[in-house]
């Protein structure tokens, strides 16, 4: 019972082995090989038998005709004499001469099957020689001829040789089939086990992956065979899935944080309005705030959706050739007045054409995001400069009744308010409506939008003079929602850079963040297309 039980797993393992594709294929091959071997040997045996028969027949026929001739020449006496002399030689053929009444006259045959001597022609018969009394009977192929005068002559040859040969061939056949079967089965089991072990390893890995551990990878034997290729392809697939899952988790974490914060604010405002509002004006103000807040939420949500769709490659359908340099010029022109209003200057340096294949809207959106970012952070630097400029004369600022450094102050501060230590900042450029001169301290912080062709890439660059991003943070900021601490107070969803990065990847390119010394240089590098 215990033995049986312990055999249980082994049996099931064997059963599993026998069910493998490799083993079944082996069985099919074995059957084919065995049938072929059997057919070949059978054919060989039959032909050999026929050949031996023919040989015997030829010998016997010639001897019969020779003896008949002798009978014709020298009569019965001569025949008997020759037969007797031949019959007594060792290993001789069978001979028998009978009287018309059937009595033996000469020869070495002791007994025959009944009726053999009566019928003229060929026959296979059991016989016994004269000198044998007991023992196994032999089989011979004999020919009976009738001589003139009613005498009969029988000449035959023992078939033992033929039977022996046939047996040898049959034995060889059985052995070879057996060997083929044994070797084939063993080989089949061996191959199946090897394959099964690798497939089992893969199955185990997939099971742990299915259980939720996405870090597992299929083992690769290193032989480069079809299983290896399958495994490495599956591993690539797993990498992709893992990245997507990580992205999804990150998104849900970030959504929880960055969407819930404004939602909470929204709710609180509504509650506060219900509780405290005094009259229509308050309600109106609260509702307007609510709309503005929900617009912000919608914007964040749209950006998230867009990133998700860009990353899934879903937007790849509507791709066409367009001129990225033209987009840089257009979007630069779109933002130039805004930059100027903020006390910055925005300049576009673009090659004549820079063909890219992709989605014009999305690339436009990416550049817009980069410029938007550049403006936002350049304003930060302006603010900081303003603070620094005001620091030596804090009393002055307080007299003016101004909380230091609010964004409104930057835009509205008249140039004259600047202390001697801040000799005319950006405000000077506001009226001019044109490029401010670049040289000297009077130049407003400059944002440069560039479009250029570098080898087989089209590079769209937005360079600013803002605070820049430390080398350590440059990769991290491309993630969704990441805003460096210094910019937490800035408006914006924190999705601008990650959307630009997702758009770059959708087009087979990437977004690089570099040091503009000082400031940030964001380079959207896209594959160059054939000129449209």
């Amino acid at each position: 019972m215990t033995l049986f039980r312990s055999l249980g797993p082994a049996m099931s393992a064997l059963a599993k082995l026998l069910r493998t594709t490799a083993f079944r294929l082996t069985l099919v091959y074995l059957l084919v090989v065995a049938l072929f071997a059997a057919f070949l040997l059978g054919y060989f045996a039959l032909n050999t038998r026929r050949l031996i028969n023919e040989q015997i027949e030829r010998t016997v026929t010639s001897e019969v005709s020779e003896l008949s001739d002798q009978y014709d020449i020298g009569g019965l006496r001569r025949l008997v004499y020759i037969v007797e002399s031949r019959a007594n030689q060792p290993g001789s053929n069978l001979y028998l001469v009978t009287m018309p009444n059937g009595a033996a006259l000469a020869g070495n045959v002791g007994s025959l099957e009944p009726g053999v001597i009566e019928s003229v022609g060929w026959v296979e018969t059991a016989y016994r020689r004269l000198d044998e009394t007991e023992g196994e009977g032999h089989v011979a192929l004999v020919k009976v001829a009738e001589l003139p005068g009613g005498f009969r002559l029988l000449v035959g040859r023992d078939l033992a040789e033929r039977e022996r040969l046939f047996r040898i061939v049959a034995t060889a056949g059985r052995w070879s089939v057996a060997i083929v079967l044994v070797l084939g089965l063993a080989g089949g089991l061996f191959v199946s086990r090897r394959v099964l072990r690798r497939v089992d390893a893969m199955t185990d890995t997939t099971r742990t992956i299915m259980a939720g551990d996405l870090t597992g990878r299929l083992p690769i034997a290193g032989t480069g065979d079809e299983l290896d290729r399958l495994a490495s392809n599956l591993n690539v697939m797993l990498d992709r899935i893992e990245a997507l899952m990580r992205g999804l988790k990150e998104v849900s974490d970030n959504v929880a944080h960055d969407l819930k914060t404004p939602l909470t604010r929204l709710r609180n405002q509504a509650e506060a309005a219900l509780r405290n509002a005094d009259g229509e004006g308050d309600y109106r103000a609260a509702l307007e705030k609510t709309i503005a807040e929900s617009d912000g939420l919608i914007r964040t949500f749209d950006a998230l959706l867009m990133i998700a769709r860009a990353e899934s490659g879903e937007l790849r359908d509507n791709m066409a050739a367009f001129d990225a340099a033209g987009i840089a010029r257009d979007v630069g022109e779109l933002y130039e007045p805004l930059a100027e209003e903020k006390g910055l200057s925005l300049r576009v340096e673009a090659v004549a054409t820079a063909p890219v294949r992709g989605n014009r809207e999305l690339v436009g959106q990416a550049i817009a995001n980069l410029i938007d970012n550049a403006i936002k952070y350049s304003v930060l630097t302006l603010e900081a400069e303003e603070k620094a400029a005001q620091a030596p004369a804090p009393a002055l600022a307080e007299v003016a009744g101004r909380p230091a450094g609010g964004p409104d102050e930057i835009e509205h501060a008249p140039a004259s308010a600047g202390s001697p230590l801040s000799p005319g900042r950006a405000e000077g450029a506001e009226e001019a409506g044109q490029q401010a001169p670049r040289a000297g301290d009077n130049a407003p912080p400059e944002i440069v939008v560039r479009a250029r062709i570098v080898a087989d890439r089209v590079e769209l660059e937005v360079a600013d003079r803002g605070p820049g991003i430390g080398a350590g943070d440059r990769v991290r900021v491309l993630d969704r929602f990441v805003r460096l601490e210094q910019s937490r107070s800035q408006p914006g969803s924190g999705l601008g850079l990650s959307l630009a990065s997702a758009i770059a990847r959708l087009h087979g390119g990437d977004l690089r963040l570099e040091d503009n010394a000082p400031g940030l240089r964001a380079v959207l590098s896209l594959p160059r297309a054939a000129p449209p």
Partner: protein, 252 residues
């Protein structure tokens, strides 16, 4: 937010209610939308501003109504029971009905818009939208259908010649940058109608993305400085919560 408040404080606000309907342009509209609340809200709001609005709750009903009645504009939700919004528009266009259609869709991405317009829609608005945006767009759609393609646009004493690219206010010639010219051209083409910021971005710059900041406002205020500065009668008005409108307030 600050530049925005500066704009609105510096300029005359026009009341939100000053729409086409006020001037006797009541439109017949069909809202095909399966969400009961959304449809109810929309129909009510459209009636409040003086339009006549019918409602169909699914694609089949919408198609039947659009074929049987004569509407100025169709407002079609993209995803509808029984028959998809795009299929409804396709079927109408197949039968030779050219009533302008505005597609509403929760799918806002760029390619969906392209699909919608390709299917025969005339404009596309992503949900959630502001009612002011929707209203501005259907009014422009209804007018476009009427066809207004003159070579010279006139609003008050402002004149824009589309062939010679000359802009004159009173006796004075105004020099505009090419983009400013296109901006003014679009505003004057839809004189008396509210034109939203996204409509300007779409039609003057040909971009459909959300610029996140008030880039358009700055362009408009530059244009305003050129055409209104020094004249007693402002023509380019900010419509609070909606957009802009060019209009001669004296002439009505």
């Amino acid at each position: 937010m600050s530049p925005m408040s500066r704009l609105s404080s510096a300029e005359q606000d026009t009341a939100t209610g000053s729409t086409g309907a006020d001037k006797g342009h009541a439109m017949r509209l069909l809202v095909i939308e399966d969400d009961r609340d959304a449809a109810e809200y929309l129909v009510k709001a459209l009636r409040e501003v003086g339009h006549v609005a019918d409602h169909a709750a699914d694609g089949e009903e919408g198609l039947a109504l659009a074929l049987a009645e004569s509407y100025d504009v169709l407002i079609v939700d993209r995803m509808l029971p029984k028959r998809d919004g795009l299929a409804v528009i396709g079927a109408l266009r197949g039968k030779g009905v050219t009533t302008p259609a505005l597609i509403l869709s929760a799918l806002g991405a760029v390619d969906d818009r392209v699909k919608g317009l390709r299917a025969g829609g005339d404009d596309y608005l992503a949900k959630p939208y502001s009612f002011a945006e929707l209203l501005a767009r259907i009014e422009v759609l209804a007018r476009r259908h009427g066809g207004r393609e003159e070579t010279v646009y006139r609003v008050g004493d402002l004149e824009l010649d589309r062939l010679s690219h000359r802009v004159v206010r009173g006796e004075e010639e105004i020099v505009l940058q090419p983009r400013e010219f296109r901006l003014l051209e679009y505003l004057m083409k839809h004189a008396g109608q509210v034109v939203t910021r996204t409509m300007l971005l779409e039609n003057v710059w040909d971009y459909h993305f959300d610029p996140q900041t008030n880039v358009i406002d700055v362009h408009v205020s530059r244009l305003r400085a050129k055409i209104d500065k020094g004249f007693s009668q402002p023509l380019l008005h900010t419509v609070r919560g909606a957009g802009y409108m060019i209009r001669d307030t004296v002439a009505g």
